[in-house]
């Protein structure tokens, strides 16, 4: 399987394992969408702002002495976006409902992060 196919498969698996999830994206750390099942018109913007949130999260963690960042989360009334660094070069963004099973999302996300790191690395 090519890297692209592996990432597409990983997204499908995540969606199957956690039906609550409403969108998954792997993007480069400079904000280019690499694989995604967000609607196309949202994809480019989510990749760019997701990478930006991750970069900003890292700086906040440095300035506030929070240690290494494991997750950046933006929570709204209608949903939340979880963003994870996957090594130096990539980010994984997952959108889920505000009242979903966050524990399960996080559990699956952590496994997915490791897989993305391996695929991109």
């Amino acid at each position: 399987m090519t890297k692209q196919e592996q990432l597409d498969q990983l997204i499908k698996d995540l969606r199957m394992n956690v039906p609550d999830i409403t969108g998954v994206m792997v993007a480069s750390s400079d904000g280019l969408s690499i694989a995604s099942d967000f609607p196309e018109e949202e994809g480019a913007r989510i990749a760019a702002v997701g990478a930006a949130a991750s970069g900003l999260g890292n700086r906040i963690a440095q300035n506030a002495s929070l240690g290494e960042v494991s997750e950046t989360m933006v929570k709204g009334n209608d949903g939340l976006l979880l963003i994870y660094m996957t090594g130096e070069e990539g980010v994984l963004a997952i959108r889920a409902p505000a009242k979903g099973n966050l524990g399960l999302v996080r559990l699956e996300a952590s496994g997915a992060c490791e897989s993305v790191k391996k695929i991109l690395g």
Binding site: D30, G31, A47, A52, G55, G57, R59
Partner: protein, 189 residues
């Protein structure tokens, strides 16, 4: 030459860029050009101090020190050499200007004034052939120096944003790309 300076100068078409010939013509005429120094400094700072937004850059009583800065720059320019450290210094000026809130409109506007002043003096005081070579040299110098000051102002803004907020230049470019089509559409309507 440092990376940022090289990258900026590489953007300028080579027939427009400051050349060995331009350097020669300035340096061989430097005695005459140095006679114009007082007028240059006076005219530059009269313009800058007669306008609210540019005057607001300066603190009370700062004018003599800034006149000296421009004098030093003019003398260093005419004495040459146009080596790496000269061009790197112009890149550094962009950074100093960020700190002092000297924006790019101010710099490009005042460079227009410098180029007009030196060109008119050249046309008044030199035979036509040499005067035209001087005019070309002044404009090529303007191209290099404004490119370095203005672009390093912008690039160093990006570096500061990256340092402060973790948004590197490529990512900023991507963020801009997500908005630019809408902005263009709005600007047209």
């Amino acid at each position: 030459m440092n990376e940022i300076t090289t990258k900026i100068l590489d953007q300028i078409p080579s027939n427009v860029k400051f050349s060995e010939e331009d350097a020669d013509v300035l340096i061989r005429n430097k005695d005459k050009l140095l006679e114009w120094e007082d007028g240059l400094i006076q005219g530059f700072y009269d313009s800058v101090f007669n306008h609210d937004t540019t005057r607001a850059v300066f603190t009370e009583g700062e004018r003599p020190a800034r006149e000296q800065t421009l004098r030093d720059w003019y003398q260093r320019t005419l004495n040459g050499p146009f080596d790496d450290s000269y061009w790197e210094w112009q890149t550094y000026v962009g950074l100093v200007h960020i700190k002092r809130k000297v924006n790019n409109a101010m710099v490009t506007g005042m460079w227009g004034w410098i180029a007009t002043y030196l060109s008119s003096k050249a046309l008044e005081e030199f035979p036509q052939d040499e005067a035209l070579k001087l005019v070309k040299a002044v404009h090529a110098l303007q191209a290099n120096v404004t490119a370095l000051i203005v672009e390093s102002y912008l690039k160093n803004m990006f570096v500061a944003i990256d340092k402060a907020a973790g948004l590197n230049e490529a990512l900023l470019g991507r963020l801009v790309a997500t908005e630019i089509d809408d902005m263009l559409a709005n600007a047209k309507s």
